[in-house]
């Protein structure tokens, strides 16, 4: 699988993503933000970090990086795009995903393990999980408070676009399980077509037992298996 990780000035989880892919058995390529083409890639990852210092608004400036025009084209033609944390923020800023990420309701940056409920498993990104499975993946952000207007929310629900929700250990969608005030505890969403995923939690941080767990590894394996299936069918 040919995986590209876009490196913006100020990205800081790009190497973590690379290493996580290595654990899963793949060796991605770093794509510098000033490049202009993502042709030939099977997956584009927009990693976490503080692109352009996250000055002004998170993801606001990165969205105008030269590479982004082609990432948008790639996404619209059905290519897999996975935005994690800052990557999610960039995806909403450039309109590939609806809504926006506001400052955490508690006003503080939060670095903490968090329980998520997997709401959809028929996607390229989540095939390895069980519907409704509770997984523990850390969040790490100052602005992860997902907001969307009523209409937008209705559309997300109608199209079944909500992929992860913050929950309690028991799997309940309550304020107690919600770290940042996100609307309806939304932690991750896809576009209508299901090929563009944005999520605030960091699965690349939990792919090895010695550094905190393996609950995130399923996403990497899901994508690989999906790709294998697709190439087999295609061949």
């Amino acid at each position: 699988m040919k995986i590209g990780i876009v490196r913006f000035p100020g990205s800081n989880c790009e190497v973590d993503c690379l290493e996580a892919w290595r654990v899963a058995g793949e060796d991605p390529v770093m794509i510098w933000h000033q490049e202009t083409s993502v042709k030939g890639y099977d997956l584009i990852v927009l990693p976490g970090g503080f692109s352009y210092g996250d000055y002004l608004r998170t993801g606001a400036i990165a969205r105008f990086s030269p590479i982004m025009d082609d990432v948008i084209r790639f996404a619209k033609s059905g290519g897999l795009v996975w935005g994690i944390c800052n990557g999610f923020q960039i995806l909403t800023e450039c309109g590939l995903l609806p809504g926006a990420l506001l400052r955490n309701a508690g006003l503080h940056f939060i670095c903490s393990p968090q329980y998520l409920r997997v709401e959809r498993t028929d996607l390229a990104f989540t095939g390895e999980y069980r519907q409704g499975q509770i997984i523990q993946i850390p969040v790490n952000h100052g602005e992860g408070n997902y907001t969307v207007d009523d209409e937008g929310l209705a559309r997300l629900k109608a199209n079944n676009q909500i992929v992860f929700r913050y929950v309690t250990l028991e799997g309940e969608v309550t304020d107690q399980g919600n770290p940042n005030g996100s609307r309806e505890n939304i932690a991750g969403i896809v576009n209508k077509e299901g090929n563009v995923l944005g999520m605030m939690p960091h699965p690349e941080r939990v792919v090895e037992e010695s550094i905190g767990g393996v609950d995130g590894k399923g996403m990497f394996i899901s994508i690989l298996k999906h790709w294998e299936r697709r190439t087999q069918h295609g061949a």
């Binding site: 000035p9 940056f109 670095c111």
Partner: protein, 732 residues
């Protein structure tokens, strides 16, 4: 020149006379400015030098001791750890967020200029009590600033410590430590050598910020210093991230002769120190320095403390390459001068000479002061107060709960939740453990790191207290299963011109030195922060210790809390502590006094060695040192998930439960390994005592057969975990 000129810049009349003598003429305004910052306490260590020279600085593991931007210790496999700690106390008192943020930025630059990729940050913080609004404001701002910078640049903050004490009201201590990793062949130094080599300024543009910051760091906080407030800068972690990547790229390409960050005293200290180390001179035309503002004078350019800048000496002919790399990262690099052979710092403006000073006059001829030292009156007085006859003031449960609700003891979760402690995906022990641990990719190893200092101990007995700061750090390192390797320090004291303060400084450093000698953890660098006083009050003497340790096998990493039921809990070391200097005495008797227990470093070393031996055999499930609050508090922390029941035999319940004495470690093991541990302790002649077993969802303590505590987890855990959060979320 009017005396007013040099006096306002912080030079004494005697110092000015010495400048004149060294120059062989009257210095001009710019030259006086350069001297005044280079001869400030912050840059010259004029007061502390004679004391610091007593630190042990050598050992087989030390690749770079004091004198460079950061120390370096070998960890095998051709890898080394680079680390250093620095203070940003005064800027943080005035602008907590930016003061702390730029503190982190500065210490990171010290580490990556050595060629190392920074892998971790730690923060050692001291504030006045949180019931005062201003202290709360400072605490909140400082924590925000540390996170704001570290999170953004993408380096995990994996440890630190926080104490609250009235002596820090209005003069908080903000000490940041950075740790980096490098391959031996990439070690870079802050030298300017090779006559004719270009000198370049890289990174951010120079503005009028922070002029005279180094001098500012060397005075007491007073009404007058309020007017020097411009000495606060705004940090730009985004810029520094780019600068870091660019500098590491240049160092790895072997394009540089030397590199140094522009920290305190900016271009002045970086150029003269680099030339000093290279036994060379530097000539710079200041009109070439890229500026953010118009109309800056040579004086302002030389003294500016704008952040995120570096001074670089590339190998001749490679300046284009430097420029290219910096440009690719969106930054500037400009040749501003060259290395000369005549030992002079020569400054030009548009080709016209505006200053010429012998480099060694700045770096080596700074005055050295042997300040008078006098034992303060309080010392014998407080030491003499008898610790006999104190009775437990309340039920054991209430005392324990009160101690756990003391912000100095309570969990610092509110703090480290605001820090990204995992970016880099190497963090094996996250904050909340006894020390932070990172794995070293490509090896089986881990590195452990911690900061410690109980300043009440240091106040009551600077010699013993100084030694205990090192001991506590070593205990925390050993409790995660790592072998202590070396330390950096940040020596925070009051005004050294007061003989009583200087005595504290001298004694504490002697204690630190002695403990480092016995524990074989040499001092590889550090920082001195004096004049930490608000009108009428000095901070408690606080020689902060930052220690690094090595785990040969990361699989053997230990955590500080028990993770299953039925584990056997043992105590290494003595059962009873002392009330002298204890948290109990301060809280319940409103007394900070007493003679600290006699220092027995050899014995403590034996205990730590034994602990590491047990862990090396894979016999331990957890370890936790006993510090503030004593045995009962340490037990509560260690059993915070499962509870425990414990039996003690003691003649003094108060001292056993709440007394303090370093050199005591709680360990736990499986039932199956208990006998083995007991026999190993017997063979080694180490004091080991079986206390009890984990489980039961309560902490139950029997003393001499009768139950004195039976408190449920649901009751004490929230007190420990939520105290600080509740205080910070409350309105006043």
């Amino acid at each position: 020149m009017e005396p007013k000129v040099w006096r306002e810049m912080g030079l004494t009349d005697e110092e000015y006379a010495k400048v004149k003598e060294l120059m062989g003429r009257e210095p001009n305004f710019l030259e006086i400015g350069v001297f005044s910052v280079m001869w400030s306490e912050h840059c010259s260590y004029k007061t502390s030098k004679p004391i610091l020279k007593n630190f042990p600085t050598k050992g087989p593991q030390v690749l770079q001791g004091p004198g460079e931007n950061a120390g370096i210790v070998d960890i095998g496999d051709n890898l080394a750890v680079v680390f250093k700690m620095e203070s940003h106390n005064h800027p943080s008192a005035i602008e907590p967020y930016q003061g702390a943020a730029t503190g982190v930025g500065g210490i990171l630059r010290d580490v990556f200029t050595m060629g190392a990729r920074p892998v971790a940050v730690l923060d050692a913080l001291r504030f006045g009590p949180l019931d005062e609004g201003n202290n709360k404001y400072l605490f909140s701002g400082v924590v925000g600033g540390i996170g704001g910078y570290g999170n953004s640049i993408g380096i995990p903050t994996v440890g630190g410590d926080v104490y609250f004490h009235s002596s820090y009201s209005g003069n908080p201590l903000v000490n940041a430590m950075a740790v980096g990793l490098l391959e031996h062949r990439h070690i870079a130094k802050g030298v300017a050598s090779g006559v004719g080599n270009p000198v370049m300024v890289v990174g951010a543009r120079t503005g009028r910020d922070g002029i005279h910051g180094a001098t500012f760091a060397s005075v007491e906080l007073s009404e007058e210093s309020e007017s020097k407030r411009s000495a606060v800068q705004v940090g730009d972690p985004f810029m520094e991230k780019l600068l870091m990547e660019a500098c590491l790229e240049l160092i790895q390409a072997d394009a540089l002769v030397g590199i140094q960050d522009m920290g305190a005293a900016g271009l002045t200290s970086s150029s003269s120190e680099m030339a000093g180390r290279g036994n060379s001179g530097i000539e710079m035309d200041l009109s070439l320095v890229p500026r953010r503002e118009t109309g800056m004078t040579p004086y302002e350019i030389m003294l500016s403390e704008s952040q995120e800048r570096m001074l670089v000496v590339p190998k001749a002919g490679r300046e284009k390459e430097v420029e290219e790399v910096l440009n690719r990262w969106g930054l500037e690099a400009t040749v501003v001068g060259r290395v000369t052979g005549d030992g002079m710092l020569r400054l030009l403006e548009d080709g016209k000479m505006v200053a010429e000073i012998p480099v060694k006059a700045l770096t080596e001829e700074a005055p050295v002061y042997h300040r008078p030292s006098r034992e303060p009156q309080y010392y014998q007085e407080l030491k003499g107060i008898s610790m006999e006859g104190f009775k437990m003031k309340d039920s054991v449960e209430n005392v324990l709960l009160a101690l756990l609700a003391n912000p100095t003891i309570a969990s610092k979760e509110w703090v480290y939740r605001q820090y990204d402690h995992q970016v880099g995906t190497n963090t094996a022990v996250v904050p909340g453990g006894d020390a932070g641990v990172l794995r070293v990719r490509g090896t089986k190893k881990g590195i452990a790191m911690t900061t410690d200092c109980n300043s009440r101990y240091v106040y009551l007995d600077p010699y013993i207290g100084g030694a205990l700061a090192v001991v506590e750090a070593a205990q925390n390192i050993a409790c995660v299963g790592a072998k202590p390797l070396a330390i950096t320090d940040c020596l925070n004291f009051g005004n050294p011109e007061k003989p009583e303060i200087f005595w504290q400084f001298e004694q504490a450093c002697a204690g630190v030195a002695e403990a480092c000698r016995v524990l074989e953890t040499p001092v590889t660098g550090g920082n001195v922060s004096l004049y930490n006083e608000t009108p009428g009050m000095a901070v408690y003497p606080t020689p902060m210790i930052g220690m690094i340790g090595l785990l040969e096998d990361l699989d053997l990493v230990l955590c500080n809390h028990i993770k299953t039921e039925g584990e056997q809990i043992y105590l290494l070391g003595e059962l009873e502590g002392e009330l002298a200097g204890s948290e109990y005495l301060a809280m319940f008797e409103n007394l900070e006094a007493g003679a600290l227990p006699e220092l027995n470093l050899k014995n403590i070393k034996e205990i730590l060695t034994f602990l590491l031996k047990l862990n090396g055999k894979g016999l331990l499930t957890a370890a936790h040192d006993i510090s503030e609050g004593g045995l009962a508090v340490a037990l509560a922390e260690m059993t915070v998930q499962y509870g425990a029941s414990v039996n003690l035999e003691t003649a003094d319940k108060l001292k056993a439960l709440f007394g303090e004495r370093l050199g005591r470690i709680l360990i736990s093991t499986t039932k199956g390994n208990a006998a083995k541990i007991e026999s190993l302790a017997h063979q080694a002649g180490v004091s080991l005592r079986h206390l009890g077993e984990s489980g039961g969802k309560t902490l139950t303590i029997m003393v001499n057969g009768s139950k004195c505590l039976d408190v449920s987890l649901d009751k004490y855990r929230p007190v420990f975990e939520r105290t600080i959060r509740n205080i910070m979320n409350s309105d006043n």
